[in-house]
Symmetry: C2
Subunit: 120 residues, 2 copies
C-alpha cells in the first residue's frame, strides 16, 4: 500500500460524520462495539461495524478482543502523519494569506518562521 493509498484511506475514513463521532467516543479510552452502537442509535449495528472496519483499515482504530467483547482503541498516529504532510502546511498557507504574505505561502515547506534561513 503506497503512501497515497494511506492518505486516501485516512481522509475517506474521516469523511463520514458517524466515523468521526466514533473517534470522539473512543478518544478518552477504548469502548466496546456494543457501547458504540448504544451511543449511535440512528445506525444499525452492522453499519457501525462497517464503519469500525473502515477506521481499522485506515489504522485509526485498533481492536482488542477480550472474551466476547471487542474493545476499540483509538490510534491517532496516522492523523499526526496527515497533519505533517497536508493539514499543517495548508493551514499555514491559509494563515499566511490572511496575513497578506500570500506570495510566500507555499504549503510544502514551513517557509513562514524559517524566512531568515537563506540557504536552499
Amino acid at each position: 500500500m503506497s503512501i497515497e493509498d494511506k492518505f486516501d484511506a485516512l481522509f475517506k475514513a474521516l469523511g463520514h460524520r458517524a466515523r468521526r463521532q466514533i473517534l470522539d467516543l473512543i478518544k478518552d479510552g477504548p469502548k466496546t462495539t456494543g457501547s458504540l452502537c448504544d451511543a449511535l442509535p440512528d445506525l444499525d449495528r452492522c453499519t457501525v461495524m462497517q464503519h469500525l472496519s473502515v477506521l481499522e483499515s485506515a489504522g485509526l482504530v485498533v481492536a482488542e478482543r477480550r472474551g466476547r467483547e471487542r474493545w476499540n482503541h483509538l490510534d491517532a498516529l496516522p492523523i499526526h502523519d496527515v497533519q505533517k504532510r497536508w493539514i499543517g502546511p495548508y493551514a499555514a498557507h491559509a494563515v499566511a494569506v490572511l496575513d497578506g504574505l500570500q506570495a510566500l505561502a507555499a504549503p510544502e515547506a514551513p517557509a513562514l518562521e524559517a524566512a531568515d534561513k537563506s540557504d536552499d
Copy 2:
C-alpha cells in the same frame, strides 16, 4: 449546510489523490483548468473538472473566470478549520500517547500544555 456537512465535504474532497494533487498544483498560485489537465495526463478533462467542482463545493478552490479561461485559486481556510477542530487535537493525542501521557490525551481540549491550569 451544517458544520458536519462541511467537514464531510472537506474530508471527502481530500480523500482522492487526484484532488490532493490539484491542491499541490495550485498552492503557489492559480492555474487554468487546461494546464491542470496537462499536469494530470492520466485523467480525462471531464474527470478533472468533476474533481475541481468537488473541491469548489468543499470551499477549497475558488474559480475566477478570465476570458475563455478559468483560473483555479486555492483557498486553504477550510483546512485551517479542520485543523482546529479535528486534526490538531488528534495529532496532539498521538504525541501524548507516544510521550506516555495517554491518560490525559483528550483530543477535544488542549490539555497538554495547560496541565497546570487546575480549574474545569
